[in-house]
Symmetry: C2
Subunit: 206 residues, 2 copies
């Protein structure tokens, strides 16, 4: 299993590589990739070493090959199904955002408790009643949930989610969630991030 930071960087590299490919670049040097990612060339080479890819030419990495290799590491073969839980402002924006990108991550259901939303298609994805969570998660084999419910119901909904068999959560709420060990949790807290920016602005940077 790769270190978290390496996984993050690989994801970022891939997007830059896809972009480079579109621009007609066939090869890219470690220092080019580094310059685009607040990184050093050594770090890039190390990350690529980690995934066992070698270029065997001093012409840089083959962009297409590298994209494929990163894909083999990061992607599941048949993709991964994702649900958005809580389809308020943020939930809708996030859903639209992800639906826009074609990828191996498919948002295939959203959940809410608001009857005016249930059974409707919102941001391109069908919204189900939260009470049907387990049923839908099981029948569509959803394994990842994006949490965009209000803070007040976050903990409660989380236990339902875990119960339904979700194995990974990306938590947009401001409440730190408690999940069992076999469920991967990514805290994705905007307030913390913005407060961090504010702190370093105030203190004159890092």
């Amino acid at each position: 299993m790769l270190p978290e930071r390496t996984v993050e960087r690989l994801s970022e590299y891939r997007r830059t590589l896809l972009q480079s490919l579109e621009e007609g670049k066939t090869h890219i040097f470690s220092h080019e990739l580094a310059a685009l990612h607040h990184n050093t060339a050594v770090q890039v080479r190390r990350d690529i070493m980690f995934i066992g890819y070698t270029s065997m030419q001093r012409k840089g990495y083959d962009v297409r090959d590298l994209i494929d290799v990163i894909g083999e590491i990061l992607d599941s073969e048949k993709g991964l199904n994702v649900a958005v839980v809580g389809i308020g402002n943020l939930g809708r924006a996030v859903t639209t955002y992800f639906v826009g990108k074609r990828s191996k991550l498919n948002i295939i259901a959203t959940f809410d408790v608001d009857h005016t939303k249930i059974e409707r298609v919102i941001s391109g994805v069908k919204c189900y009643s939260l009470s049907r969570l387990k049923e839908i998660v099981e029948s569509y084999e959803i394994s990842v949930a994006i949490m965009t419910v209000p803070a007040t119901s976050a903990s409660e909904v989380t236990s339902q989610i875990v119960d339904a068999g979700i194995k990974g959560i990306m938590n947009f709420t401001t409440v730190p969630l408690i999940v069992p060990d076999d469920c991967y949790l990514e805290e994705y807290d905007m307030i913390t991030s913005l407060e961090k920016v504010a702190y370093f602005v105030k203190s004159g940077q890092s």
Copy 2:
């Protein structure tokens, strides 16, 4: 200057503490705070040591005092002014989200290029033309920008932002930005985070 990770944790602790205060708790033990934050009691004590707060009683930390001390570290005395740049779906959701919380971070302007949005109040905040960026940033003393423009214009808008005198950026776009050293940059990339979750779900967790 505190380490990044410590700053993040302090921000998270503070919110838990505010919550505890509301629930009528006056004191909290390091192990309680730890349990709520995927953390150890030692880590919590170390973080608190960092900011020079001591409790001097074996009754846990005084919740109210600790909130104040963290505030002195994280907050600027007179608050910090923030702009949201790009007021599409995500920009609106993020604006609404932050405007909802009362804090020392004030979103006081949004920017866009869409004429149907300019000069209107959107999500509770006035939207200005991007062409007036510098003028508004200067007159309102805005120092932080939240970037929610489309990926295609991210780099270009970033140089305008830096030019206008912004000292901290929270980047929601998928394009890694290039900014000068005296501008603090927080890459806040949803795709990377979700791909990370997917990877660890696929690999059977950390």
